[in-house]
Amino acid sequence: MTAVHETPAWIAEITMAELERNPYPFYERLRKECPVAFIPALGFHVATTKEACQEVGGNSDIWDGLISPAGGRTFGHPNVLNANGPEHDELRGMVEPSLQPAEVNRYVEDLVRPIARRYVEAIEDAGRADLVAEFCEPVSVRSLGDLMGLQSVGSDKLREWFHKLSVSFTNAGVLENGDWANPEGFRPGDEARAEIRAVLDPLIDKWIVEPDDSALSHWLHDGMPEGQVRDREQLYPTVFVFLLGAMQEPGHAMASTIAGLWTKPEQFERVVDDPKQIRRAITESMRWTSPIWSAVARTNKVDTTVAGTFLPAGSLVMLSYGSANHDENDYDAPSEYDLDRAPVPHLAFGAGKHACAGSYFASEVCRIGLEELFEAIPNLERDENKEIDFWGWGFRGPVELHAHWEV
């Protein structure tokens, strides 16, 4: 590809490891100098400003949903992220009913609050916890797991699955010849997929003959002619999408909200004292550290130019929402968490036809989780002896979040 030869050195030399550690400085420079750029280490383009992400994400006349090669390798086809046209409508219509806000309102309190209470009770007398591993992630996976019908799968197993799928999904590095830079990086995802199928196949067998109110049972039956169900092979790629992103990200968002509030102790106290501010705190957190930082892509059906970069038909453009949400044109001091900042809409849930179907559900899981945590442990404090490190370029959140409180 000719673009490689025109690539400035600072772009040509960026590595996956640097992006995984802290993508912000590199993307800040991209936003300033080259909002849509070809990144050799990734083998595709990235859109980094809000304007470019909106243009690519929102215009389905030119742009189709596409999964990154590593994502496709992890999930298989067709999944709801890379399907387009009638195939996408079918998959989207399958997953959406249980995620519509009115429907979520019907069940979310009864589903999530007891789960959040249970995990708070498990830590509240200990006086300390890593909130990522002991609260945010378990509440996130248990809530979606129970909604999907996976009550029989333990929370630690669900967490293990999304961690493994995530490793594969973000194993995006390629060599100059286009081969995978680290083929071994797909092994965890392959293992998780095999295990998921071994666990889910018998459940699907059961739901085929005994439908229930679980989301996966509905995926099999809804909209199908009497006596028929969807082929499970049609379901599995989208099941994997859910078992990664939808399982992982509400937990990330919850943890990032706490981490963000801890950078402004006065704002943290205000939110603990007034639970009505939790929603706004979550919204700012999604802007500040977007959980799906750089994991959604599009491909153009015709030649086009975006932000001055010519893109021949068939280009892959990764939408870097985490970068777009730090766009200096929209946000002052974007790297700061600030509850009081003017609520300019963020792009954490994406744009256009492939915008996140679970945005409301995810936000409600975060809200209820944080309400229960702050209600039961209002004296929660950051453990100043432990660093808060964030990880990830595809997905991003705190690695650990150590808190302590008086018991």
């Binding site: 509240e124 603990v272 004292d273 007034d274 639970p275 009505k276 003017a342 702050f374 209600e375 039961a376 442990i377 209002p378 004296n379 008086e406």
Partner: protein, 349 residues
């Protein structure tokens, strides 16, 4: 002056509001409840969104209503005067919370009692020409004669007594209402302009949680009303009342509470002194609470007093794991920012 129509978007309630009348005032007089706290621009709890029409923000201070918020179309209901017909929506929840509300009204009363009860503290009892129904914990405003200044005092009498109000007033040196009036020329038989009830603090309905009441100085007034109402009507399963002062000279009404304690096994009275050793509890009232409870989980609290005490109290209760949504605070509001420089700050009590 011309009046404008003001409508609440969700509730659909509508009222006529004078061009120089705060929107909050207009609705409360119609007995349409709007969330509010201090009614003088300092707490921000009456913030609303002006969806249609224009308002004059009156004396709304920048620290309560920022320039950005004004640009976004927000206003303080207690300060905003309509410049046109309005469609508005309060930011806070206006759902029915089961608390009975009472309309705001202006009533004239007569001073029936004016007694020194503690250091720099007077009990002021006013017989009203017409009753002012209220909820335990609410307050009224008195107009300082010959001025437009109003000062806020919580009712200490139970809400069952609507025609005779008991207020506790602390002397503020240089204060227009206390130095210039209540502690100077006021006498039994004087006529007084009273406006009320206002405020959201207090116990307005039965609750399941036991309650810790923490009062500093004349912050005891709303607590007395709450205790009398709660014991008479069985509103709260168990009550602990803490009253903090520096020395015994700051305490008052101890005999009233000790007598109640003798009759009600579920009521406990704990006066605390911070600068005097005695046979009661010693130390800051908030430290005494901290020492008395190992856990406050499942309990609620009402705090009234100087801002530093209220803040320290809330921290202590959170350390003892009380849910923040069950911690209710009423601070003596500092109105000095809103008044002329010559008028000393006077605490609301």
């Amino acid at each position: 002056m011309a009046a404008h129509s003001v409508r609440l978007k969700t509730l659909g309630a509508e009222t006529l509001c004078g061009a120089d009348q705060p929107v909050l005032d207009a609705f409360l007089r119609e007995n349409v409840w709007l969330p509010h706290g201090c009614a003088q621009g300092t707490c921000g709890s009456c913030k609303l969104r002006v969806i249609e029409g224009e308002v004059d923000h009156g004396a709304a201070p920048e620290f309560t209503l920022t320039t950005d918020e004004r640009a976004e179309g927000l206003a303080l209901a207690c300060q905003a005067r309509p410049r046109s017909d309005l469609l508005v929506e309060p930011l806070a929840d206006i759902a029915d919370d089961g608390v009975v509300r009472h309309p705001l009204r202006d009533v004239v009363g007569t001073v029936a009692e004016l007694t020194d009860i503690a250091r720099g503290t007077r009990r002021l009892v006013i017989d009203l020409d017409e009753p002012i129904p209220f909820t335990a914990g609410q307050y009224v405003e008195l107009t300082v004669p010959g001025t437009e200044l109003r000062r806020q005092y919580s009712m200490a009498n139970p809400p069952s007594e609507t025609s005779r109000l008991e207020l506790h007033v602390r002397h503020t040196p240089g204060g227009a209402a206390t130095d210039g009036w209540i502690f100077a020329g006021m006498a039994v038989g004087d006529r007084v302009d009273v406006r009320g009830p206002l405020g959201v603090f207090g116990v307005g309905r039965p609750q399941d949680e036991p309650a810790i009441l923490i009062a500093g100085g004349t912050g005891l007034a709303p607590m007395k009303s709450i205790v009398l109402a709660a014991l008479a009507e069985g509103l709260v399963p168990e009550i602990w009342l803490y009253h903090g002062g520096r020395t015994e000279a700051d305490l008052y009404d101890g005999d009233v509470f000790r007598e109640l304690e003798g009759r009600h096994p579920d009521f406990h009275y704990r006066p605390c002194l911070s600068e005097q050793e005695w046979d009661g509890a010693s130390g800051l009232v908030t430290d005494v609470v901290l020492a008395d409870f190992t856990s406050c989980k499942g309990m609620s609290a009402y705090l009234c007093g100087p801002p530093a005490m209220v803040e320290a109290g809330a921290k202590v209760l959170k350390r003892r794991r009380m849910a923040p949504r069950l911690i209710f605070k009423e601070e003596f509001t500092d109105t000095s920012d809103l008044l002329s420089p010559s008028t000393a700050e006077e605490e609301r009590t």
